[in-house]
């Protein structure tokens, strides 16, 4: 049976790994390559690298290649700046197994068909940042336009296409905090789709990790900043939640 995944997340700005706070403030952490090597050694189930400043420049191919050249044995997902099919192919050819699409989904949904034809649906994830207003209404946060949008129509269109294999739900306000992921987002998205969901933003509490993993639609959890605070943090998380739904930590050292 498929295991649910603990996914190590590296947020990158100007090709430097950063500690991000609600995608509004950043503190430098160091070279993304060093973090990726740590997460590989510590037994992450997947590593996702999100370049958050590539809107107009396209994906950071040099960075992807440099990560790939490390010879990591953990699956690697890249997101950031993918504008079209050509970008997506270059990301895969540079060494990522899967791609995260963000703006292109909302700006040019037909391009997603082309991407799926070449790299396959299984290699496509959609990033959906959400915020909850004071009145409880849940909205999509459009980073490129810096505005909140109704999510229902666009999301229905995306789901209908069936060209995405997993959704990354991002708690925009919770990202970088220790306040926990807003679980109302999962209920909201479940109204539209049965696609597997990955969650990201503010997830540090082990009780919440266990609760999130117990939800049927959740296929994995993205954890960012807090993994860098302690050596072997992923192993510690896996051991502490002791869930049969996740892959046990492997003993290091075949190479």
């Amino acid at each position: 049976m498929l295991k649910k995944r603990i996914i190590a997340t590296i947020v990158v700005k100007n090709s430097i790994a950063v500690q991000s706070f609600a995608y509004a403030k950043w503190l430098p952490l160091g070279k993304p390559q060093c973090l990726a090597e740590n997460f590989d050694r510590w037994g992450a189930d997947e590593i996702v690298l999100l370049s958050i400043d590539r809107k107009d420049e396209g994906p950071d191919l040099e960075l992807i290649k440099s990560i790939s050249e490390l010879g990591l044995t953990t699956p690697f997902i890249y997101g950031g700046g993918i504008r079209n099919c050509k970008d997506a192919i270059e990301v895969i050819n540079s060494g990522a197994e899967r791609v995260v699409l963000d703006n292109v989904i909302f700006k040019n949904i037909s391009e997603v068909d082309l991407i799926a034809e070449v790299i396959g649906v299984q290699a496509i994830l959609a990033s959906i940042p959400l915020i909850e207003e004071n009145n409880g209404k849940i909205l999509h946060y459009n980073y490129s336009m810096k505005k909140k949008e109704d999510i229902s129509l666009k999301l229905k269109e995306i789901i209908k296409k069936q060209k995405i294999s997993e959704i990354i739900l991002i708690d925009k306000e919770g990202e970088g905090s220790i306040n926990g992921f807003n679980e109302n987002f999962i209920n909201e998205i479940s109204n539209y789709t049965s696609l597997p969901i990955l969650v990201f933003g503010g997830i540090v509490n082990k009780k919440q990790i266990s609760r999130l993993l117990s939800k049927k639609q959740i296929s994995g959890i993205l954890i960012g900043n807090s993994l860098n605070y302690k050596e072997h943090s992923i192993k510690k998380i896996k051991t502490s939640i002791d869930s049969k739904q996740i892959r046990a930590h492997q003993i290091d050292g075949y190479k």
Binding site: L2, G43, V118, Q122
Partner: protein, 206 residues
């Protein structure tokens, strides 16, 4: 480190070849990426990797005139390992996007995964026969990332992976002679994957 045998990774334009290259080098093999048949010929083992859709991959194999080359390699019992889409290309045909003829090295077809649209993440493999190299990796987790799967005669199926508790499963490894297909990514399956890949290469070389 003792330099082991040489491995050629077939470059057909689509796919994540760099990861496979680094993994093989880390395992001590002399590995290179190439679509030059003279270069590929010199290798002891051929690896056909793959991330992408079946019709696109076959299009590129035709474009680079690799279809008959791979068929001849299989016939002459040159060791050949297919990874993920690379394994699927060994089949006779695929129903992904449109009906597309494959390399036809191993009888069988590539079909949509029943009841599930995708099989993404870590799953254990179960060796389906006692006398095979997958037995040592029985119940070990490997990384899968696919939405279509192999269906074919039992005698070519060497490992399966469960999809649910209702006995639905997918084929995770196939073999005919020295041609071996892995539905999972051994190069991305940490220690378990590396150990199995090393074992497979050692076996097909001898």
């Amino acid at each position: 480190m003792l330099i082991k045998n040489s491995v050629a990774i077939i470059d057909y334009g689509v796919g994540n070849h760099l990861s496979v290259l680094q993994t093989l080098r880390n395992l001590g093999y002399r590995a290179k990426i190439s679509r030059d048949k003279n270069e590929i010929d010199k290798a002891d083992v051929l690896v056909l990797p793959g991330v992408g859709a079946f019709p696109t991959a076959m299009h590129y194999l035709h474009k680079y005139d690799l279809v008959s080359y791979l068929k001849d390699a299989h016939k002459s019992r040159k060791p050949l390992i297919g990874i993920c889409l690379g394994m699927q290309l060994f089949a006779e045909y695929s129903k992904e996007i449109e009906l597309t003829e494959g390399l036809g090295l191993i009888p069988g077809s590539i079909e949509p995964i029943k009841e599930k649209k995708w099989h993404i993440g870590w799953n254990s493999i179960e060796a389906s026969r006692e006398d095979n190299i997958f037995k040592l990796s029985d119940n070990e987790s490997m990384f899968f990332n696919h939405s279509y799967c192999y269906q074919g005669p039992k005698k070519f199926i060497f490992a399966r992976s469960s999809l649910d508790q209702r006995n639905n499963s997918i084929v995770s490894a196939i073999r005919k002679g020295k041609t071996i297909g892995l539905q999972f990514h051994p190069e991305k399956s940490q220690q378990s994957g590396l150990a199995l890949l090393d074992r497979i290469i050692n076996e097909v070389i001898t």
